[in-house]
């Protein structure tokens, strides 16, 4: 299975702009399916972006974030060719990680 994370990071010299799209159902636990039964909660709890082994962006999420969430942010520093590590862990303990080269 292909990675659930798409990420693109571009450095402008001083700052690095990061965009990411993550494939995840993000079920809040409050929605019912077509049979009227509650869909159990299933959402990403923590999303982390690490550069040089240090987190540059951490998000603590809950069920209020939409399906297949999209994130965009920028941080100071970051060099072209360096690696950015992205990982998430959800409330069921599932996790995924990927790395991307800064462009």
């Amino acid at each position: 299975m292909a990675s659930t994370i798409r990420v693109r990071a571009t450095s402008s010299g001083e700052t690095t702009e990061v965009q990411a799209l993550i494939q995840h159902p993000m079920d809040s636990g409050f929605i019912k399916d077509s049979k009227g039964e509650l869909i159990p909660p299933h959402f990403i709890q923590q999303l982390t972006f690490e550069y040089n082994g240090k987190p540059v962006f951490t998000a603590d999420w809950g069920g209020g974030v939409s399906k297949d969430p999209y994130v965009k942010f920028a941080f100071k520093g970051g060099k072209k060719g360096d690696e950015l590590k992205v990982s998430w862990v959800d409330n069921k303990g599932a996790t995924d990680t990927t790395t991307a080269k800064i462009q």
Binding site: A2, R6, R8, Q19, A20, L21, Q23, S66, K67, D68, Y70
Partner: protein, 287 residues
């Protein structure tokens, strides 16, 4: 109670409509002329939106609203249909149990051919849409058919549309009475009012494109099928042409027909034909 007043209102509306059309326009079924239809159809939209270029119409509501357009351009850097596209590509290249692939069912191995569908099958005497052809391909190879309104079909058509991006629609209505009848039936379906709300497809997509229904900007009928399948944020997922047609029907309180019934195939045929020459832009993303 509420319903009864709705019926009475509907009945009154019919009565009013009848009075308004007291003198019957007496339009007889004149000759079916797809070429003239296409010309008139395009002229209507080009006149209605003089600032738009023809190829802008395939982007639906984004061409009608500057703010939406800006958001969309940002979104297209990481389009929400990307996961579906990837799944479609994987499915498309994976052989069936008998070793054959989808590509074996189509000309040019199925790559870059979206713009030729729906096509008229002279042997069968009916319109064949891409979704129908895909399921027939599966069945011919001993695989169960996919639901026409769910993710698998959307993923496959998304991939096939992607390989045809930018290619102009090239729908042919051969000079065969059955093809002309199918085309005419599709046109009739498009313009006929139905459902308790008494809407036709044209009510929204010809009379009111660019206007809002609640918060949504209505897309013009011209180029609307070029973007299929679409990721609808409203749906939180992908939708096929079949899904679009069936939900359109239920939204106006009509019971949808079965996906790929003759009427739906014909209306897709009609809509695609009048958008001939405009580029395929699918898979699309819509609010």
């Amino acid at each position: 109670m509420k319903l009864r007043s709705t019926i009475q209102f509907a009945a009154a509306a019919f009565a009013l409509a009848l009075l308004a059309f007291a003198a019957p326009p007496a339009v007889s079924a004149d000759k079916v002329d797809p070429v003239a239809d296409e010309k008139a159809f395009k002229k209507f939209f080009y006149d209605k939106f003089p600032k738009l270029k023809p190829e802008d119409f395939v982007n639906g509501p984004y061409s009608m609203d500057a703010d939406l357009y800006k958001q969309w351009q940002d979104k297209e850097q990481f389009p929400p249909y990307e996961f579906s596209l990837e799944l479609g590509k994987e499915m498309f290249s994976k052989p069936f149990k008998n070793g054959k692939t989808y590509g074996d069912c189509f000309p040019n191995n199925g790559i870059g051919i979206r713009q030729d569908y729906p096509t008229f099958d002279e042997k069968e005497g009916k319109v064949i849409t891409l979704e129908l052809a895909l399921n027939r391909c599966r069945e011919a190879n001993g695989e169960p058919a996919f639901s026409y309104v769910r993710d698998e079909m959307a993923a496959l058509t998304a991939y096939m549309a992607f390989t045809s991006r930018g290619k102009p629609f090239n729908i042919k209505v051969p000079n065969d009475p059955r093809a002309l009848a199918a085309y005419e039936n599709g046109k009739e379906y498009f313009y006929t009012r139905r459902g308790q709300l008494n809407f036709s497809c044209a009510t929204c997509h010809v009379q009111s494109p660019g206007e809002k229904v609640r918060t949504e900007v209505l897309a013009p009928a011209l180029g609307i099928v070029n973007a299929m399948p679409i990721y609808r944020s409203e749906w939180n997922g992908m939708g096929t042409t079949s899904r679009r047609f069936t939900t359109c029907n239920s939204q106006i309180r009509g019971v949808p027909l079965t996906p790929q019934d003759d009427e739906y195939r014909n209306v897709e045929y009609y809509l695609s034909y009048v958008s001939n020459g405009l580029p395929i832009s699918g898979p699309g993303a819509r609010p």
